[in-house]
Amino acid sequence: MNSRRHFFKTSFASTAAVSLFGPLAQAAERSGSRVAGIIDTNINVFDWPFRALKFRDTQALVVKLKKHRVIQGWAGNFEALLAKDINGVNARLAAECRKHGRGFLIPFGSVNLAWPDWEEDLRRCHEVHEMPGIRIYPGYQPFDLDHPGMGRLLQMTTERGLILQVVFGMEDPRVYHPIINVGPVRFRPLVAALKSVPNAKVQLVHFAGSGSNEDLAQFMEYPNTFLEISRLEGNGAIARMLGSVAGLPSARAPLDRILFGSHAPYFPIETAILKLIESPLEAPQLHAIMQGNARRLLLPA
């Protein structure tokens, strides 16, 4: 790096440094703040079924997210994991997001491919609740990605310009409550399904990345495919995924496909932001992950 390039050291005054950060500073100026905000593409609201989470109250969660400069949260509803009345789940999610300020919490409803007439739930997510996308939880919802309905789901979300968020896990399987026995979600059928719907907008949520290098590379060959960082592990995980530092083996993804995701309130929001700090990332990289890529994904196709 050019020694004359401007950089932030913690002993510097932040205002002086931020003004020199290029894309981050420009984004901050657009938002009327001196600091660029974060779009968190993976949060959930309401109650986790097995524990009273610290930030289970949505108002408290919103305050917490804003404290950490989150400017928008893409919210699922924990109830979607186990509920049968998915439309009720989605309606409550939409109302909760509206209640806490339009434009801050963005509802991502769900459909359950194992339940009948899930197509109507999808229509309502789009037409009634005006959601930009939906989130599915294979495993907790009793289907895998080789379900016969996956192709139809990809087709329908693409026709409607919706983002399909596919959740690859909610917690470490080793500490499941004993009544839960959810197997690993197999990635390959999703990659295969994309062949017939190549323009689908698909985001991998809470995706570990390990052990699926070839599949991930194929997935990233499609134009509208993304993943978020909440499940990436190991020192420098984001930079390793970008290939900008050496270390433990890592699946690779291009910068323009990586989104910020925290998995809050199950995970502390702090962990995902610290990953941005821990990895040696330059300002354009940070901007892309913190908000630029998410803004692009939200744009109409």
């Binding site: 399987p173 500490v175 020192n235 309130p265 610290l274």
Partner: protein, 294 residues
């Protein structure tokens, strides 16, 4: 990019700056820098992140052999010893043993702790016999630990599985649970024990060791769950928690986030990040002629 170069200011995002992390005096109780096919290279490379995240001292979990083969000569032992000497201001080590072999374990403690550089005993969960830390085999090991006034780190998990399906039912045969640690703690109330990973299932792990004041809990190597540290403080008290980074296979970000999630005082954070570990290590450091600030 050098390790102290940042393009966002953590303070703007509600997080400690590097200077503030340094001020917490972070001691990484669980460092796997040497756990690799190329341990020296991995260690040196990971120092970038040690520096970047402001870790003051790391305690390597595998000094003298490996976790899988604790008694076999290890081709990197000599180089690792040189690094321990070179980096003694920021690196210490525990030596792994296997309670399936108590005589060999005691001999190893004599070599690597009494007569060597290590400051603690490490129980892996990968022993060759189905012997966990609650087995009577452990008693001579713990008597020696008491004599040396050295702490014992025990890997624990509560992997759900088995028939009936229960926490711990999928553990390896030699993999201890927090309940095993509790049994051992009852027999040796004067030896400081660290219950590694909280058993993974921290809600149950904390309950298991709660009555035993000589057991400290360590959260590393499991997912970060919001609220976990505050729960442990409520049940155990802040003096019984120690922090581990579990790098490089886990992110320092993940492990720091667990503590920063907790709404606690700076003084309490300092206890968890390093003060408590320094307290139980003070005696062995003193014996080795190493001065540490409490």
């Amino acid at each position: 990019m050098n390790a102290r170069e940042f393009f966002i200011n953590p303070a703007d995002y509600g997080l400690p700056t590097r200077d503030e992390l340094v001020a917490y005096r972070i001691w990484d109780n669980h460092f796997h820098g040497f756990a690799a096919k190329n341990p020296i290279e991995q260690y040196e490379r990971n120092n970038f992140f040690v520096e970047r995240m402001g870790v003051e001292r790391s305690i390597a979990q595998e000094v003298g052999g490996t976790l899988e083969e604790p008694f076999a000569p290890y081709q990197y032992d000599v180089e690792i010893l040189k690094i321990l000497e070179r980096d003694k201001d920021r690196l210490s080590g525990r030596t792994p043993i296997d309670p399936g072999f108590p005589d060999e374990s005691c001999a190893k403690i004599e070599k690597w702790i009494r007569n060597g550089p290590c400051i603690g005993i490490k129980y892996p969960g990968t022993g060759k016999k189905a012997v966990t830390c609650s087995h009577p085999n452990n008693d001579p090991i713990l008597r020696l630990a008491a004599e040396l006034d050295v702490h014992v780190y025990i890997h624990t998990w509560l992997k759900v599985g088995g028939t009936p399906r229960l926490p711990g039912g999928d553990n390896l045969p030699s993999e201890s649970t927090p309940m095993d640690v509790a049994k051992l703690a009852q027999r040796f109330p004067n030896v400081a024990l660290i219950c590694g990973h909280t058993g993974g299932d921290w809600e149950l792990g904390v309950r298991a060791v709660r009555p035993h004041k000589n057991v400290l809990m360590e959260f590393s190597g499991s997912d970060p769950h919001s609220g976990m540290v505050e729960y442990a403080i409520r049940e155990l008290g802040v003096d019984r928690l120690v922090w581990g980074g579990h790098g490089p296979s886990r992110s320092y970000a993940t492990e720091l986030g667990k503590v920063l999630d907790a709404d606690i005082s700076k003084a309490d954070r300092m206890k968890i990040f390093g003060g408590n570990l320094r307290r139980i290590c003070a005696s062995i450091f003193r014996k080795k002629g190493i001065t540490i600030e409490p």
